[in-house]
């Protein structure tokens, strides 16, 4: 398993929680299952995908597009962080 709270993903989680709260009018925890327990639709998850791609200039493709990657804020942050790595990796080695 990856370590959840690297500085990168921590900031991402805060941003994503802010986005979700603004869109749903509800406060969420980073570990809450947004779809089963949270009652959000997979349709909303589609909007989240588009939001993440536009905000973080990433492309979520192929196998990465599975719903499980968007089930919690923590997983979304991990996904974004991983997909951003190639750009940052050149500098940080």
């Amino acid at each position: 398993m990856t370590t959840a709270n690297t500085p990168n993903t921590h900031d991402l989680e805060k941003e994503l929680l802010g986005f979700l709260e603004a869109r749903t009018g509800t406060a969420w925890d980073a570990d809450t299952d947004l779809f089963d327990a949270g009652g959000l639709s997979s349709l909303f998850a589609m909007q989240v995908v588009v939001h993440l791609e536009q905000t973080y200039a990433i492309a979520v493709r192929g196998a990465d597009l599975r719903l499980d990657n968007f089930r919690t804020v923590r997983r979304m942050a991990e996904l974004v962080d991983r997909l951003r790595v190639p750009a940052a990796g050149g500098l940080n080695g």
């Binding site: 749903t24 009652g39 959000l40 639709s41 997979s42 589609m46 588009v50 196998a63 599975r66």
Partner: protein, 376 residues
């Protein structure tokens, strides 16, 4: 062949009516022009307005002429007309290649053409000739096309309520009382299907167009299912909003066409259909393989497939696909695969659907894996 025009944007002064409202005070609407507006409306072509005028003044005049209801999303103000046309196309979710603009002033047409080269522009002298042009003559005219404007207007009401609704979208969607019907295509529904595949680009998963004659042939083919999807809500009907073409193979259903109207994307129609199909396939003990060709406009459909659990056959091969002819080389066609399980079809849409476990014309001799046996 050029695209059929889906929306015609009218200038008002000296184009729709004779005279300049702000200068002449009085303007005259020729009967022949009124007939053009009503004829295009009956063909399902939406009409809008891009006019340099005072909005209230000009709209009041359209109402006095009894024409206001024929125009959706009017842009009456002082900005560039290219911007007005662009906003109208954006809000309708129409490609600019399907939008036309008519204006008596060459400079206005040139301005629109400069910024939006895909928009077809016509001078005011041609207004009476428009209904005779091929691009204003849709191949089919159906119940839905005659009511298209009303359906869009109901849609704008929905959007306004939605924007005003507090809380998650889900709650709002439930309040709409959405009802989806999925049935085998018959008779008149076929022309609705063809119209849908012609008019719908955004959510056509395969980008493959099936002409009326081909679909008619497939309706009586026992291997194929041609399904039409209609949707209603408390605001009224959305009409025919989706089409599926399915071919039955032993142990496998092949989804060859799935198109939904861009008007119902916001209601999760694509995801609802995929969930229903997956649930039906699970009951029949078959796998699903869906054709998918990436286009600029079907990103949401790709997400819908993936969120429904589909995976690329190239990522996760499955022997079930051996019965399929290979996708044509260079077609850009991907095959997405799902081992379906029973599932909740939708938490917001009530679905009334045909039972696919019972083939319409005889039962093909299927060698179906027993769904009761856990995966080996």
């Amino acid at each position: 062949m050029a695209d059929t025009v889906k929306c015609l944007v009218w200038d008002l002064d000296d184009t729709l009516w004779q005279g300049t409202l702000l200068e002449d005070g009085e303007v005259h609407l020729p009967d022949e022009v009124r007939k053009v507006v009503m004829e295009l409306d009956s063909r399902g072509i939406l009409q809008s307005v891009a006019s340099r005028n005072d909005h209230e003044h000009a709209w009041a005049r359209l109402e006095a002429f009894g024409l206001a209801e024929y125009f959706v999303l009017p842009e009456i103000g002082w900005g560039a007309k290219s911007e007005s046309v662009r906003r109208i196309a954006d809000r309708l979710n129409f490609a600019l290649t399907t939008v036309a603009f008519v204006d008596d002033r060459p400079a206005e047409r040139a301005e629109v053409t400069f910024h939006l080269p895909d928009v077809r522009c016509y001078p005011a002298e041609e207004v009476l000739a428009l209904p005779g042009l091929a691009e204003f003559t849709p191949a089919t005219s159906t119940v839905d096309s005659r009511r298209r404007r009303e359906m869009y207007q109901a849609g704008f009401l929905r959007d306004a309520e939605r924007a005003a609704a507090p809380g998650p979208d889900e709650e709002f969607l439930r309040s709409l009382d959405l009802r989806m019907r999925i049935g085998r295509a018959t008779g008149e529904e076929l022309s609705r299907v063809e119209e849908l595949t012609l008019r719908t680009s955004q959510m056509n998963a395969t980008g493959v167009h099936y002409p009326d004659a081909v679909l008619r042939g497939l309706i009586t083919d026992p291997r194929h299912e041609v399904l039409v999807v209609t949707l209603t809500d408390r605001f009224g009907p959305h009409g025919a909003v989706g089409v599926l073409l399915l071919e039955r193979h032993p142990g496998l259903w092949h989804l060859k066409l799935l198109a939904t109207s861009c008007r119902v994307v916001a209601y999760g129609a694509g995801a609802t259909l995929l969930n229903w199909l997956a649930d039906s396939a699970a009951r029949s003990g078959v796998h699903l393989v869906a054709d998918f060709r990436e286009t600029e406009r079907n990103r949401m459909m790709e997400i819908a497939y993936r969120f429904a659990g589909f995976e690329g056959l190239d990522e996760a091969p499955c022997p079930c696909a051996a019965v399929l002819a290979p996708a044509p080389e260079d077609s850009g066609l991907q095959r997405l695969h799902l081992v379906p399980g029973p599932r909740v079809v939708s938490t917001v849409v009530t679905v009334d659907a045909v039972d696919l476990g019972v083939p319409d014309l005889g039962v093909p001799d299927l060698d179906v894996p027993d769904p009761g046996v856990p995966g080996s």
